[in-house]
């Protein structure tokens, strides 16, 4: 795998100071400095080691079930009049792309000599993927989850518990992903020596955004090979992915960032509508600010208080976006669209009926934009199907009329 590829020539990848354009950095209190510095000093070296890569590859193959298929969605293609492929991250062990990152980070944590793992989770997919690798490696696991998300993603809470993790409700603020992340960071401040924090998206202080993007980059690495085999061209015309913090999009975009002919489409959650006051469309509603130790686009009040976002999908219910995506937005390298709660629901029902695949609500946001793109019949489109919809069944049933 090419997770340690040199990206220093690229204007879209992180620079040697930890920034993507004017976004990124590490706005951490001193209590976290030794941990973050240790990661920063070591992550590239560790993931370059052949032994690390061999173990990562082997687990992705035998445990996660990679490569994930690239599925030609025939009926969806007929409907939208383009050649639409689905990158089936939903078929990974634990049901989403999140596990690519947790496998990478648990191997890294072991090499750093850490004994305990903490994580935050929104939809619960990252929490499950973390609990899973902790069980696999025999490490203690604590997952912070907003109390609202604990309610709306109950099956994942049960899974984490069965996997031996302790799930701690975050009851501050908006009681969702942002607050779970705050609590995880506070836990790390209080346990700085023996604990590694497995962040679940391309957010947080440098080097997390780059590190997580690299572990997820396996998605676009496979896409290139699979497309070449199926279409004779490694490059599609479009890659579409949903963006909460942006890790599945970062993985799906990674090896295409410098291929300017490939159009990258990031889909944010519009909630009840971008201007409804109940939205999580950060690129539209945010401006430069600092969240979770990263300078990025941020939904905030005029005086710099972070605003509570809204999305029907717990995994996209985040008032920021990873600094890579802020940079892709600002440079225009990626097009940022958004889908409402209702559009996402409709897209989920549609995929279920047309292709026999029930997608995660998050992934459904990406699917929802097929109707809005100026697709031509010869266009090759890859949608990152970041996860499966089992966790969202209750929501789907509630809205199914």
């Amino acid at each position: 795998m090419d997770i340690a590829v040199n990206t220093s020539h690229s204007k879209y990848h992180v620079n040697d100071k930890g920034y993507y354009g004017r976004f990124g950095g590490a706005y951490i209190p001193e209590m976290l400095y030794p941990n973050v510095e240790e990661l920063k000093e070591q992550y590239l070296q560790i993931i370059s080691e052949p032994a690390f890569q061999a173990e990562f590859d082997q687990l992705l193959t035998d445990y996660v079930g990679r490569p994930s298929p690239l599925f030609f969605a025939k009926r969806l293609s007929e409907k939208y009049k383009a050649k639409i492929y689905l990158k089936r991250e939903d078929l990974n062990h634990t049901g989403a792309h999140k596990v690519n990152n947790t496998i990478g980070q648990i191997l890294l944590a072991q090499r750093l000599g850490k004994k305990k793992i903490i994580a935050e989770t929104g939809a619960g997919q990252h929490g499950v993927a973390t609990a899973t690798v902790c069980a696999l490696m025999g490490l203690e696991c604590v997952v912070y989850m907003g109390s609202i998300d604990i309610e709306r993603q109950a099956p994942n809470v049960a899974r984490m518990k069965m996997l031996g993790a302790t799930v701690v409700p975050a009851t501050s603020g908006s009681k969702t992903l942002k607050d779970a992340t705050n609590e995880a960071i506070r836990h790390w401040i209080n346990h700085p020596v023996d604990t590694h924090y497995i962040i679940g998206s391309v957010v947080g202080p440098h080097p997390y955004p780059d590190m997580v993007a690299r572990f997820q980059s396996v998605v676009s690495e496979e896409m290139r090979k699979q497309l070449l085999e199926k279409t004779g061209n490694a490059n599609p015309d479009y890659v579409i992915a949903c963006v909460g913090g942006g890790s599945n999009a970062a993985g799906a975009f990674f090896h295409y960032l410098d291929e300017e002919a490939v159009k990258l489409v990031a889909v944010e959650a519009a909630g009840k509508g971008v201007n409804s006051g109940f939205s999580a469309a950060t690129s539209q509603l945010g401006k430069m600010g600092i969240i979770h130790a990263s300078k990025t686009l941020l939904m905030q009040t005029e005086d710099g208080q972070i605003v509570e976002p809204h999305s029907i999908s717990a995994g996209l219910d985040y008032p920021g976006v990873g600094p890579l995506h802020a940079h892709l937005y600002e440079t225009g390298r990626a097009q940022f669209l958004n889908a409402t709660d209702d559009e996402a629901l409709a897209a989920a029902y549609e995929l279920s009926l047309l292709e026999g695949i029930i997608p995660a609500l998050e992934s459904a946001h990406a699917l929802a934009k097929l109707k809005d793109l100026p697709l031509k019949p010869e266009d090759v489109v890859v949608v990152c199907l970041s996860g499966r919809g089992d966790k969202d069944l209750e929501t789907y049933i509630k809205h199914l009329k």
Partner: protein, 256 residues
């Protein structure tokens, strides 16, 4: 001379610095609290600028911040409240907060307002030292504002030296690896405090986090120039029906 430097040259020992969240318990309590702290014999005041997502803070200061924001506190409101406070209060005053609200206010604008109102120093725990040095130091110098950095038990000696070189006013030694308001045993920390003392830093050292009563204050003072009390004070006034007497008896309990 900056009031912080003046204080340490007059009184190098047992400095008592009290933290309170601005705009808490009620929006307009800020000045009353500051005045009462001065009358009670406190040496320095640290005013918290409330932030919605205070990563380095435990539940007590989080809760006070949430309430202060709900009360309507914000950076611009605080500067309104602080207009003319120097007619009534002579103690050194430090503002503590997180980067984002300061960034949105504008760093230069913020520093200028601090100087205009009579603020002496700033603590921004999530401002990276490198960024301060490359982007902001000249602004802080222009307005004669001290920027105080933190050290922790996990900070390496080389980095402590660097932090001491960049900080002005004093160095804030976090007592244990924790968020604010954690009950960790001061006894375990004496070796760390002693190590700091032996390093003979150029700046005075104040110890904070987990200082809550006479004993912990004395333990902190044994190897430093004084201590900062935050969560314990916030707790003492959060449900107070008589701020003045709550504050006086709290400070009495520490110094008395």
């Amino acid at each position: 001379m900056n009031r912080i430097d003046q204080l340490f040259s007059n009184k190098p020992k047992e400095i008592l610095n009290i933290y309170c969240t601005a705009g808490f318990p009620a929006l307009n309590d800020t000045l009353t609290i500051m005045e009462t702290l001065q009358q009670s014999g406190v040496d320095m005041i640290e005013l918290g600028m409330p932030f919605s997502d205070p990563l380095a803070d435990g539940p007590v200061i989080q809760e006070s911040s949430t309430r202060a924001i709900a009360n309507g506190m914000r950076v611009s409101v605080l500067f309104e409240q602080l207009k003319g406070f120097r007619d009534r209060i002579s103690l050194p005053v430090i503002l503590m907060g997180y980067m984002n609200p300061v960034l949105q206010f504008g760093v230069e604008n913020f520093c200028q307002k601090c100087a205009e109102t009579g603020v002496d120093g700033i603590i921004l725990p999530d401002l990276p030292m490198d960024e301060f040095e490359t982007e902001y130091r000249p602004i802080f110098e222009k307005y004669d504002l001290h920027l105080i950095f933190l050290v922790t038990p996990e900070t390496s000696e080389a980095r402590i030296r660097k932090i001491d070189a960049v900080s002005t006013g004093f160095v804030y030694a976090v007592s244990s690896s924790s968020t604010t308001g954690k009950d960790k045993d001061m006894g375990d920390q004496q070796a760390y405090f002693a190590r700091l003392k032996e390093m003979k830093l150029k700046n005075p050292v104040l110890i904070g986090f987990g200082i809550k009563d006479k004993q912990t204050f004395a333990a902190a003072c044994a190897n430093s120039n004084g201590a900062i009390i935050g969560s314990a004070f916030v707790k003492a006034i959060e449900n107070s029906t008589n701020l003045q007497s709550s504050i006086q008896s709290f400070v009495q309990g520490i110094k008395g």
